[in-house]
Amino acid sequence: MNHLVFFAVAVVAVVSALGLVLRRNPIHGALFLVVNLGCVAVLYLLLGAEFLALAQVIIYAGAIMVLFVFAIMVLIPGKEETGPDPLRSQRLLALPLGALLLFEIGLILSSSVFVAAPPSRAPAGPAAAGGIQSVGRLLLGDYLFPFEVTSVLLLAALVGVLALAKRKAG
């Protein structure tokens, strides 16, 4: 049953990822990305990481992507970008860099997933891995300092954006 769901969702995820890259219409691309993020949430759910799945939906699909779609709707109402590609020169670089990335992914996979006994770092027990209790304990216990530093960083970014936007308007 789980395998069936996994393959179905994996196919949808790959197709939507391809749709994101191949569609010229920016709104379609953004919506394909939403579908893709939703599929990843289902994969988290299959792994028993309920909280992670819901956070993925709320934060990525429900907040960030809504903002993306909103911005695209405001900036390009209905027109596809049909002009010449301004980043044409970067296409030469894309091929070797893509190959390098694939090689790296292959290296990581072959060293961790395909070995006989994968090293298990996830805490065992009923509230393992993605449960909300363990996430909370890790975030506000072991990783409290990085967690707070990240929030300060985000706040600084927020204030910075506001300051820059204000200056341009004034």
Binding site: L54, V57, G62, A63, V66, V69, M73, I132
Partner: protein, 369 residues
């Protein structure tokens, strides 16, 4: 019967009950909307639809509406994005419908050896699930506004998206206070926590510990943001059918009906959420698992089945009362202007709900255990 089939049957029953409950409530609300507004405005209201002369207070009007919408022309504008245009109403209504799944409508039902939680799906983070589904509903209205190839619709879709985002931020922040008081994100646990007595050392067991008493500020904030999330009056500037027109101008027939239905279903979901988080869910005051225990000493023992039925009925009654109240608000207040609603959302509801979280945290830390 094999246990697998029994499990499947139970799962189907749980999901089916919730599905039928939400759909029927949503359909019934179209009738309540007409009749309640009629009573409030000293009119008679819709009463012409009849079957063999039987009018039944206009209760056949939802049926007549459905037939009308299904048989109307389904028009698609020439320059519209056909795929998204057709998908938009579906997205709106589906996410509204599935949101109710994590709201418990009763306690655990025991049949023989089995224990069946009366909830469509049991989730550790049930509140977050409902919240996630409500926040995904935005895509429906944004897609509708964009795919219609109509500037008025596009503007309406943007107003709707801005409103729903500001409302959802306030909803998310206000339910955090409730989660802190009852120490869980699981709606079943939250409802169980509301069965205990409020301040037992002073008040005895007279008053149950319902969310509306432990989190009064969150209740007001949640309800206001909830009404905003349903996009109904006084927050109906995304639609404003008669004057400013909104994201579904280009829709007709059943697709228009689906947008209407999504709003009604969201009303039911908000009513269900309010019931579960603030009004004790399926709890009946002084009713424990073995019968009534009144604070003056009397007690009435009841069978397990009776208790469960009473609790489910109590939940349905509370949801109905909340729906009635939401209708009352809808027919009482005038519409907010766009900037007024934005100011209310970002400068009123959101800071107040953050304040509520801080106050709740201080109270929980400072309360003598």
């Amino acid at each position: 019967m094999s246990p697998v089939l029994t499990d499947l049957g139970i799962a189907l029953g749980r999901v089916g009950f919730v599905m039928l409950f939400v759909l029927n409530m949503g359909g019934l609300l179209t009738w309540v909307e007409r009749k309640q507004s009629a009573v409030m405005q000293d009119r008679i209201g819709a009463n012409r639809a009849s079957i063999f002369g039987l009018r039944l207070f206009g209760l056949f009007h939802p049926l007549a509406d459905a037939i009308k919408m299904l048989t109307k022309e389904d028009f698609i504008p020439a320059r519209a994005d056909r795929a998204l245009f057709n998908l938009a109403p579906l997205v709106s209504v589906v996410f509204a419908l599935v949101a109710f799944a994590a709201i418990p409508f009763g306690d655990v039902l025991r049949v023989g050896e089995r224990e069946i939680p009366l909830q469509a799906v049991t989730l550790n983070a049930g509140i977050l699930y409902v919240f996630a589904m409500l926040s995904l509903g935005v895509y429906g209205v944004m897609m509708a506004g964009w795919a219609s190839a109509n500037n008025y619709a596009l503007l309406g879709g943007q107003r709707a998206a801005a409103l729903m985002i500001s409302a959802e931020v306030a909803i998310g922040a206000s339910i955090m206070g409730v989660a802190m008081v009852y120490g869980s994100l699981d709606m079943m646990t939250i409802v169980r926590g509301q069965g205990a007595a409020l301040l037992p050392q002073y008040l005895g067991t007279w008053i149950p510990r319902w969310g509306i008493l432990t989190q009064p500020l969150a209740f007001v904030l949640f309800l206001t943001a909830g009404i905003a999330a349903t996009k109904r009056i006084p927050f109906d500037f995304p639609e404003g059918e008669s004057e400013i027109i909104g994201y579904f101008v280009e829709y007709s027939g059943m697709k228009f009906g689906m947008f209407m239905m999504a709003d009604f279903v969201e009303t039911v979901v908000i009513a269900g959420m309010t019931t579960a988080l603030f009004l004790g869910g399926w709890q009946v005051p002084h009713l424990a698992a073995d019968g009534f225990h009144f604070p003056w000493g009397a007690s009435v023992p009841l069978s397990h089945m009776t208790v469960v039925i009473l609790q489910v009925l109590a939940f349905c009654l509370k949801v109905s009362i909340m729906c009635w109240f939401l209708m009352l608000v809808r027919w009482t207040l005038p519409r907010f202007r766009y900037d007024q609603a934005m100011r209310l959302g970002w400068l009123g509801l959101f800071p107040l709900s953050i304040l509520n979280i801080v106050l709740t945290g201080l109270l929980i830390l400072g309360w003598p255990a």
